[in-house]
Symmetry: D2
């Protein structure tokens, strides 16, 4: 329970208010942050019953119950979907945007080959990991900044935008220097320091759903970013952890229409991590466009078996080409156009 | 570890064999069933290492390790998908078959109204529950046999097939008398007595995935039915239980392409139970046809708010009509035709 | 929403009532069952708002909302815990009762050896499966009635009670003829036909929690049995299915104190299925008595490696002996006495 | 697949090696880090088959397969459990160490009152959050550094050690200045930047299991810390996310004996987050000591209903006192002594 106080309140007014609350049986603490002075009731259980009492107190401007957690991401806030425009590409604007590339950037040649291929086949955005979050410290941790430079050059060469993951606050400026979209990975979905930090810059953020995150937790994580001033957030469903072990995760396709009801933010799907089985990826991409997701992020490699990471879930450029044709057909059926390249005229 | 014995073996041969095994350090028991005599090694852990030793023993025809659990459902058994033909309708034969109707049969008027409506809009099969598995004994348990009679009459009147759930072995003949397809519900997916019993009749069975069943357990349950002689089994993905509570279940759309790789049996999707939210059902139906499921089973009511059960997840006939149009378009895109009615000329 | 009608109501009274409801905007259907005439409102969503209106209608005795699902199992129904007395043994009466024996009954010699051993070490009840629910139809399905006869004889010889699983309604009389407690397995926790059938006999029932059943579903399943007249139900926590695969299941020890708050029924723990790893079983038995469960059911074998089923989770008789000593010590610490044998003087 | 190269290798040797690998069909990249030069094979699937071939190449010192992820945390590394000694307290040394205190530090008076109380009742370590990871940005985020100063003073006053959470790398020095143990919360269990950073300092780290982390992922997270040089890691089981919603989480008590088999690190239990229901906390504390956990971390407040966070799961000081007595008794039964205070003579 939070009481937002009138900016005209002076310290002795606040002290008097705390005393009045104390007589009502409530202890409280004062916080001054982000230009707002708030008074929090130290009472977890019963305070919500007395919201109207609190609202009537002097210098109290408004009372915020706990469930007001979705002020900014909420669908009701604005009448239409948010559209995130990056150069010529619009995400959330009715076109289906495909992000494709390797799990890890390995060599300059590799990222150029893949960029060339996915660009020809209609991807608009190049993906690739330079800083990799890996379960084990002994797994490949990525090639670092050099990889970002290669990816940027490859993207520019083949008329693509690019996206890559940032894993900690110290790297934000570095990664943002090279890429068009900063990715926050699943394991960091509730790394609140990182969320706040990317909220303070003006670059689009691709926020992946945590592997055991509910829809509400996912939206609350996005709210952290919006609350800091950056409203360019793209949500990404990438599979949740269930009892099933045959597939890497269970791709929750229903998340797309459900989140659509709850938020104005664009929603894309990652079928690669979502199932973790390369032969299943194209079918799940079809499902994503059939439910009118705003796009796709997919792992593609010119030689998937030689991927340094995630080989099992990476499709070949040939499979990617077929997949794009299939997406175009289903897109026509559901009224979505699959965007082709970055500078394509709309 | 099971040793299948030569039919020429006599009892004293078997005794000698048991003695020989004992000297090798293995106890065993003999089972005579289904015209086969088997000898099971009483040794859970190490016996599998000695398969070749066992195979060399006298009167041992073959040795069956534990992982031979999918003899009949396995995709490799036959070169093409199974097609289940019921009157004029083929399930698994390349058409997309829609089963629609109320959660519960309530009144004769209700089932006729709904049958009339879904038939006009292109459903091929009428669904409706007469015996209802309900979490609480105080919830509505269904109208029983009378409901089946109404449904049969409604189906015949409007040129539909029909499907309904059977909950125990004693009711199989009764339900089979009225319906074209017997449904085994999620809660009974591992009711092995029931599986064996429906395996002994010659009616198609719609087997729903248990709410926490892995793909392998789902297939093993189907194997129980096939093993008794009934190979007309239709698998149905209907959502699994996960940590997410906003939706009733998490509809595992990836189950369709994954099971397709593992089995020759047809696979349909139940988006109603799969998400439990009526406004999300049409999108998930789109996803089902986009991944080339063989069909759909969906809860439809002329007045969903008045459904006696599952009101939250039941769509109106108007929504159903729109959904069928959308399915037709996506079907065209993925090369599947949505079947319209039972006697439609193919 | 169910309206229970006055027994004095005549058919034309009921017709008038249905008409009156219709004018209020509600359709309804009438059910006559178990000596009660009920009228169910055909309206899933809004009817609950009008409970008081319905209650005021003529011939309506009471109105039952959907959440009255725990009439009989509810802790508030009676002031103390239920005690289930079988011969000299009381379950739920403050003693800790240990049920032990093999997963499957294999041979007469096997069950006698194990019964002898666990009886000496203080078990009160012999467990053993004769009809086995197995994921695959090709797994060992149990030795059947012969095994029950062996177990009964072994139990009587060594002063034990005995428990075994019943898998379908047709076998209830057979199994009940031999055993003191009928077990309903996890996979059948929502086999409602079976629950109703064991509710009609007067034998204690050991009801195992389904592997994805919530506490409320577990209690609702018990309610099915009590609602038919059999109140001798023992609940058994046996592990739930989670994302963790290292252990067979996740044993939910908290289920014991939580269910204790919700129901008066006794609650025991099955550490063998709960973790599926024999070396972890004794620690989990310790946890069970530390939270004051009413007992334990555990898989014990004279030669665990040769168990025909569940070898990985079966402990040896030597481990069982150590475990019983440890349980006695912790029992003293928490004020529970570990019962020793069946006819021990209390 | 990683090849560790001989330090004598020169660049042209490495080039020759890469060329030789290329002729074998493998691409590779070179990494120089932590004084080691490694060459990674760019081949996700088939490379593991050829480990012995790689090992025979010039300048290859050893070949590391992917499953060597637990070099340092592995139980087999050292013959006995790790003991983490902080001043007079030993964690993992056979005593049961209790950490207690409020969820959030609220005021100086609050933390002093609670410290006084839990110290008298035998806690050795004071817990309290100053930087709080909260699902919503609008929830109370903690009082910050001031709170840490209060907690340090309270701990020193009442002869306690103290532990508090650190949420990002920038705050490590600050938090480490005040506390004896740095806590990494569940949401940050795979925040690898943070893990590496706390691995570089010499303070004990309390690492909480992620809410959907497997045992192996949990251990791999600990391995990140040890791999940087800090071997003072205490693991904490704090409940996992399952389908059950009645309790906040499912406390996986079996994690204690299972992790004990896998690692030499101490393991404690958090029953407060583990169940989220204050009335169940004491029973789960009993279970923790019954399975011989090395300790407990529990939320205690002098007035739990007024806790600013986690009120539902916080126990009163009176309940805490009873709990400590119960722990002592069970500790005696299982051969563990509950440590009382920090400077108690052992």
């Amino acid at each position: 329970m939070i009481l937002f106080l009138d900016k005209g309140a002076r310290l002795h007014d606040i002290e008097a208010l705390k005393e009045q609350l104390r007589q009502m049986g409530y202890d409280s603490i004062v916080q001054i942050e982000n230009n707002a002075t708030t008074l929090r009731i130290l009472n977890g259980i019963t305070a919500t019953d007395h919201a109207s009492l609190f609202a009537a107190l002097p210098f109290v401007e408004k009372v915020s119950p706990a469930n007001a957690s979705f002020k900014l991401v909420n669908q009701n806030v604005q009448h239409k979907k948010s559209v995130i425009r990056i150069k010529e590409v619009e995400i959330g604007g009715g076109e289906f945007v495909v992000m494709a590339g390797p799990c890890s950037i390995e060599t300059k040649e590799q990222i150029f080959d893949i960029a060339c291929s996915v660009s020809q086949q209609g991807a608009a955005i190049l993906r690739g990991g330079a800083f990799k979050p890996r379960t084990s410290p002994y797994d490949f941790q990525g090639v670092g900044e050099q990889g970002l430079a290669w990816m940027r050059e490859a993207a520019d060469t083949f008329d693509l935008l690019c996206v890559s993951e940032v894993m900690n606050t110290d790297d934000i400026d570095l990664v943002a220097h090279y890429v068009d979209i900063l990715q926050i990975g699943s394991r960091n979905m509730q790394n609140f320091s990182l969320l706040k930090a990317v909220g303070k810059i003006q670059k689009p953020v691709l926020l992946k759903r945590g592997l055991a995150a509910t829809y509400k937790e996912f939206l609350a994580a996005a709210e952290y970013i919006l609350n800091e001033g950056n409203s360019q957030v793209i949500l990404c469903e990438r599979g949740i952890r269930t009892f099933e072990t045959y597939s890497r995760n269970t791709l929750d396709i229903a998340a797309v229409p459900i989140l659509r009801e709850l938020t104005h933010l664009p929603i894309i799907v990652d079928p690669s991590h979502g199932v973790g089985l390369r032969q299943i990826v194209p079918a799940m991409a079809n499902a994503a466009i059939a439910v009118q997701a705003d796009g796709l992020i997919v792992e593609v490699h010119t030689d998937p078996d030689k991927s340094i990471s995630d080989a099992q879930q990476t499709i070949s450029t040939a499979t990617f080409a077929e997949m794009m044709q299939s997406l175009s057909k289903i897109g026509d059926a559901v009224g979505m156009r699959v965007r082709r390249k970055q500078t394509e005229l709309v």
